[in-house]
């Protein structure tokens, strides 16, 4: 019998600021050396659950606890955040935000410093921990100068060093590109095999986590645990879909084809999946779906003509980039962090001037246009709505751009109301923005741009940090705008997003354009995938497995069908 390390017994928790409990009747036991995944939509209580384990609840976020939670046999409410930090190591979501030290070594040593460990022992332990996660050659670097994957290693070393036996990961994949996310999951798995620690991962990107095996998946919804079972078992049910969590795409495809997913098929990963039994069904389903024709190209709205840019002539950030955007199109620009994607958008908006080449809008060179003039034609929406919102009320926020242009209040009211209706925010127009959810705030920022009536929208990571439900909501809204004729460019590293909602993608790597093609082609092309730190979609591999001759067409066919099914 394994030793239980975490035991929730009829556990309830209510934040002081809230009227209703966030966690209700939680009964959950996690055993030593287990690897457990906790999934659930936003607001399901999964983050609160993890905060109970590491002690942020109730010692940092205060509230009332009833029932019991034992960690290594000790009641947490009589413990403290510091005591718990010797049992549980937490890796938070945002790798940048949690760096404390100015060098990698110091950051890793932070816990030991606070525990008054003598310097010599500290140096030795830092060396060991950094070796374990293979970051020992970067000890003197500033954590911020590292790549996304390296940052995660530093975070990991920083919690491992305290000799904790439970590791807690709060959405470890949220800010990583697909390829780095894959390595992160492999790293976690390897660590567990080496050290035998108990691992708890909270994530909603199920398919990406399942890249390596987990022992159990716990599904949360509305503050309760609604399922606690093995991966094979869970994938066979419809529970995930019902709670608004995205299943692995290949599983969805099998279900659409009418196959029953059972544990004997080993459905937890595409590589282990046995498809023999449902091969025929899948092939028949595919044959039934009519193939969609690629629409004819309309006129060009934006064109990059051999554009180069660099802060100084020796170091070019963008090199000789040319591409065209067609009117009414929805297009993705993808590439790993730091590839030059956001510089591209700053060039379009006029914050930087190209050092070489031209940017044409509707055939005219924009070089003479000021930022304000360009804002009239091209709207830019930032990733984080909190970085854009400056007013208290929704109406005022949307009206801001018009008011600074000196437009009369009557006209302002008319246009703002019009826009709010388009965005489905009209009923909330007199609400304070602080009362909105993250997804609604995002919509407010989009409305604030739309009200200026631009001809084109650029969105930076429109769905970052959103669960599947909000993701669908935002994207369907954008799709609707697109169908009304708006040209939309999305800068992203979310592969599902680009595959599902855009036909064409431009891939940027190291400041150069490496691909400009249909998204289904890009996500199935080995070379481009490697350059842009993307990952091959599991649908493609499924198609290969069942022997469909045109796997790319199969991918496209699935995406279209899936979107229709979700509406």
């Amino acid at each position: 019998m394994k030793k239980p390390v975490i035991e929730f017994k009829d556990f309830n928790f209510q934040y002081n600021a809230q009227a209703k409990p966030t966690l209700k009747h939680i009964n959950l036991t996690i055993y030593e050396g287990e690897k457990v995944l906790i999934v659930g939509p936003s607001g399901s209580g999964k983050s609160t659950l993890s905060n109970c384990i590491n002690g942020l609840v109730p010692f940092y976020y205060e509230g009332e606890i009833t029932g019991s939670l034992l960690i290594n046999g000790k009641e947490t409410k009589n413990s403290s955040i510091f005591e718990l930090s010797n049992e549980v190591g937490t890796v938070l979501q945002d790798p940048d935000g949690q760096f404390i030290g100015l060098t990698v070594a110091e950051d890793i040593a932070f816990k030991l410093e606070n525990d008054c460990v003598p310097q010599e022992e500290m140096k030795e332990r830092v060396r060991k921990a950094s070796k374990l996660v293979e970051i020992d050659n970067q000890l003197e670097s500033a954590p911020h100068s590292l790549s996304g994957g390296q940052k995660q290693r530093v975070n990991l070393a920083g919690v491992m060093i305290g000799d904790v036996n439970i590791l807690l990961f709060d959405e470890p994949l949220a800010s990583l590109d697909p390829a780095t996310g894959k390595t992160a999951i492999e790293l976690i798995d390897e660590l567990q095999k080496k050290t035998g620690k108990t691992i708890i991962i909270i994530e909603h990107r199920l398919e990406d986590v399942l890249h390596q095996e987990v022992d159990r998946i716990i599904v949360m919804d509305e503050g309760t645990i609604i399922s606690d079972t093995s991966t094979e078992e869970l994938l066979g049910q419809s529970l995930l879909k019902d709670t608004g969590i995205r299943e692995p795409l290949y599983i969805t495809a099998l279900k659409y084809a009418g196959c029953r997913v059972i544990s004997e098929m080993k459905p937890q990963r595409i590589h282990t999946l046995q498809v023999e039994s449902c091969k025929d069904q899948l092939v028949t389903w595919y044959a039934d779906q009519s193939k969609e024709l690629i629409e004819e190209k309309a006129e060009v709205i934006l064109e990059f003509d051999k554009v180069s840019f660099g802060y100084n002539p020796q170091k070019e950030i963008l090199k000789d980039i040319s591409f065209k955007v067609y009117k009414g199109e929805m297009l993705s620009i993808v590439g790993k962090n730091g590839a030059g994607k956001s510089t591209l958008s700053k060039l379009v908006c006029g914050f930087f001037k190209p050092t070489k080449g031209r940017i044409l809008f509707e055939g005219k060179d924009m070089i003479e246009d000021t930022i304000k003039e360009r804002a009239q034609k091209i709207g830019m929406v930032m990733q984080n709505p909190n970085q854009m919102i400056s007013q208290n009320m929704i109406f005022d926020e949307v009206a801001l751009g018009l008011r600074v242009r000196g437009i009369g209040e009557e006209e302002v009211t008319k246009r703002v109301n019009e826009t709010l209706k388009v965005c489905g925010l009209y009923p909330f127009r007199n609400w304070p923005i602080s009362a909105l959810s993250f997804g609604q705030k995002k919509r407010v920022t989009i409305a604030a741009i739309l009200v200026l009536r631009p001809e084109m929208l650029i969105l930076d990571e429109p769905t970052a940090g959103q669960d599947f439900k909000h993701y669908t909501e935002i994207m369907e809204f954008l799709k609707g705008l697109n169908q009304q004729g708006m040209t939309i460019i999305m800068i992203t590293h979310d592969m599902h997003l680009m595959l599902e909602y855009t036909d064409r993608a431009i891939v940027v790597s190291e400041g150069q354009k490496v691909a400009d093609d249909l998204t289904t082609y890009i996500l199935t092309d080995e070379e481009t995938i490697n350059k842009a730190y993307l990952k091959k979609t599991s649908l493609y591999e499924l198609a290969l497995k069942v022997g469909i001759d045109e796997p790319r067409a199969f991918v496209k066919c699935f995406i279209d069908y899936d979107r229709r099914m979700r509406l």
Partner: protein, 276 residues
């Protein structure tokens, strides 16, 4: 983006080998010495000494030039202000009046006033190289450790260190937010009227404050989760033990302070009077 001003400049020099605490203590001792005394001879020696130290540190003047010019402009303004508000301070101090030439109204330039203001200028100049050295030759991670060493509580010391470390992040946020707002047509350039520009700037400041609060929340969670604040004391990964050089440096700085005191006794006050 431009390099951060007054950031750490890595060099291989005796000054860099000193611990952060030593540099801070020396800076304080020298500041006391040169604030105390108006003795021209001593100030001149401190000035020469600190320029030599600056040379020893191998820091290039051009790396700090901007800041130096900036300080010099203020020094000039300061001098003008002293003259405007107290044109005969020197006469009062030195008990003599030697007129050079008359300006306008009550303002006459005297030798004593010039000498007094020359001493003030010397005071500033003698301390600038030392202060700059502390800033650019102390590794940022040693700041907190050295503050803690001279008796500041480690929580306070860390607050300073974290604030310093967040400056680049907040700068980046500021640029991003300014970018987003300008792309919305909120003009911050000189083309707008000043009153409107001030109003427009709030469109950046509010989101900046909120995003900074978010950052603070994340970092304080991260710190507590790693047991920050648990004990009364903590150890420092980057702390270095005092070596011979450190004791010598502090000894020299103390000597200067002692000399400053002795000169005060000898001169019968803070001022050295060559006019007697």
């Amino acid at each position: 983006m431009s390099q951060t001003m007054l950031g750490y400049i890595k060099q291989d020099s005796p000054i860099h080998y000193l611990t952060g605490a030593t540099k801070l203590i020396c800076l304080l001792l020298f500041s006391f010495a040169s604030m105390l005394t108006y003795d021209t001879r001593l100030l001149a020696i401190i000035l020469i000494f600190s320029i030599v130290m600056f040379k020893v540190s191998k820091i290039q003047f051009k790396d700090v030039a901007f800041v130096v010019y900036f300080i010099l402009v203020f020094l000039l303004l300061n001098n003008i202000a002293i003259f405007l508000f107290s044109p005969y301070e020197g006469v009062k101090i030195y008990g003599m009046r030697t007129d050079l030439f008359k300006l306008v109204g009550p303002y006459t330039v005297t030798v004593e006033q010039l000498f007094y203001q020359f001493n003030i200028t010397l005071k500033y100049l003698s301390i600038i190289p030392m202060a700059l050295l502390f800033m650019v030759a102390t590794h940022p991670s040693e700041f907190a450790a050295s503050l803690n060493r001279i008796g500041v509580s480690y929580k306070g010391a860390y607050a300073v260190a974290i604030a310093l470390r967040y400056i680049p992040d907040v700068q980046r946020d500021y640029h991003d937010i300014a970018f987003a707002q300008q792309a919305r047509g909120i003009d911050m350039s000189k083309k707008e009227k000043l009153s409107k520009r001030i109003k427009n700037i709030t469109a950046i400041l509010l989101p900046l404050i909120f995003s900074s609060l978010d950052r603070i929340e994340t970092i304080s969670c991260a710190m507590e989760l790693r047991a920050f604040g648990n004990n009364k004391k903590r150890t420092w990964y980057s702390a270095r033990p005092f070596k011979k050089g450190d004791y010598i440096a502090i000894g020299v700085a103390t000597a200067f302070l002692v000399v400053a005191f002795l000169m005060m006794i000898k001169n019968g006050g803070r001022f050295y009077n060559p006019f007697l």
